[in-house]
Amino acid sequence: MAEVPVNGRVLKWARLIRGLSLQDAASLLGVTTDELEDYELRNKKPLIGFLRRMSDKYQINFTSLLMPEPLPKRNRPADHRERHGKRPLSIDTLVAIEEITEALDTFDDIATEVRQVVPALSIGTARISDDPSAIAARERKRFGVPIEEQHAWRDTSEARRRWREVIEKHGIFTYMIPMPITELSGFSILRNNLAAICVNDLEATEGAKIFTLFHEYCHLLLRRTGISDQNNHNRVERFCNKFAASFLIPFHSLTYAIGEIKTPYEFSDADIKRLATRFRVSNSAIALRLEETGLASKGFYERRTAPWDIPKAPRPIKPGQKLSPIRTRIKRSGRLHMSTTLEALRRRAINSFDASQLIGLGPGSFVKIEARIG
């Protein structure tokens, strides 16, 4: 196999844009750090096979490794995190950001080709100086989901699906992608009048995922998108936390559900669980909301040393049973992403290859996806 006279600086650039240290990258590639450094310093020319492996492991376009010079650094989404000491983003997170950026770029291409295939974004605005509870009440009214409907949803899984649908009706693409849980809860992107929310699918509970959906929705309202961990130190994060809690657990409905009490009240675990089930949110969201509204005493949320929510173990897969790739893809990329892609294909704004790239499955699955998303 032939040696390729690549620019070592390009190999280093590719590694760095995927957030890989020299050690991590060498381990992924199955070489020593010295050997990888030799390639990056141009002391040694890699073979084509090695570059293909690098493209595969770094999850980066093979062609980019052959470029004569690195590309200028692209701006990453703003980083609002503080909870885990702003640990560097891992390759899984960076690739998820890339996946959604690519999708938005393609939807932007489609929007320039044909009208009315890509849904128009319809969201309000908010300022950091606003009262998050008032903004939440306004948005709740715009969404038109009565509290009785929310109470009637079967469980938090159904609530997550319904809330996602409601958000997507406003032209926001929603994604659920597994990313390291110690890194972030989710992120949002707003560009060229296209918006996307990505929820970390490894979050402990469905309730936590619902909270993240609305936390990220608030980032879009503020036009301050980026990467979140829902900490209470960062001003934007705190605002978005308050918004999500007020949106999902409106104060009047909460006091109605609690009944007559003398505040601040020392709520038991059973009380918390009952309220969380009623509002289809996580225990921690209820606990935080009770403290924040003064219904529970100051420090109520922090006093508990055990976790508020214990994640349910995933349902075991029966022998011979296979996870449906169609359901998996719809959950990952969202119904709006799927329906926009299929509509663009029908209107010939893209071809079936582009559609399979966006959907992540071959053209043979398109009819089934269409049937599933309705």
């Binding site: 390729v4 084509i48 004569p68 590309l71 071809n351 290859f353 399979s356």
Partner: protein, 164 residues
Amino acid sequence: MKRRRRLPMFQSLEPPVYVIDTSAWLNIDSRPDSEDVWQLIVDLINEERIIACARVLGELRDQPIYMLRLKPFEAALQSGDRQSNDVDYLMHVGKVAHKHPGMSRAVGRKTPADPYVVALAELENCIVVCDESNKRPSRKIPGVCQMRGIQCLTLDQFIAKEKK
């Protein structure tokens, strides 16, 4: 097989060779005259005047057109392609990707065929046949071909030219 690069002043003496992109291949079957077009394409393949680079065939492999139409001609279509270990070709593809990162999705996860098509057409002095629009030129083959002085035809234009 490597074709000798023709000098522009002698271009008109030889019949043109076409590099067909994924978008054009996929649009053939939706045409009312698709059978005639396929016949024309088969004739041109037999005359070694159509190339589909390996990356394009890779993109088409999951599409119905591949098994129905292209598989029998795979070897013939690729006879004019550069080999996947042709270092000069690969480095040229890298240059195209660097100059046109939008079209090449240079920081993306996947490796699209577009810069391979452009680089092959440039090195072999071929005409690109592509059915992409030119509305965002820096992200699409026709715009990039225009910037690089490579002739690029739509499927309609290609058919009209060859039916003359």
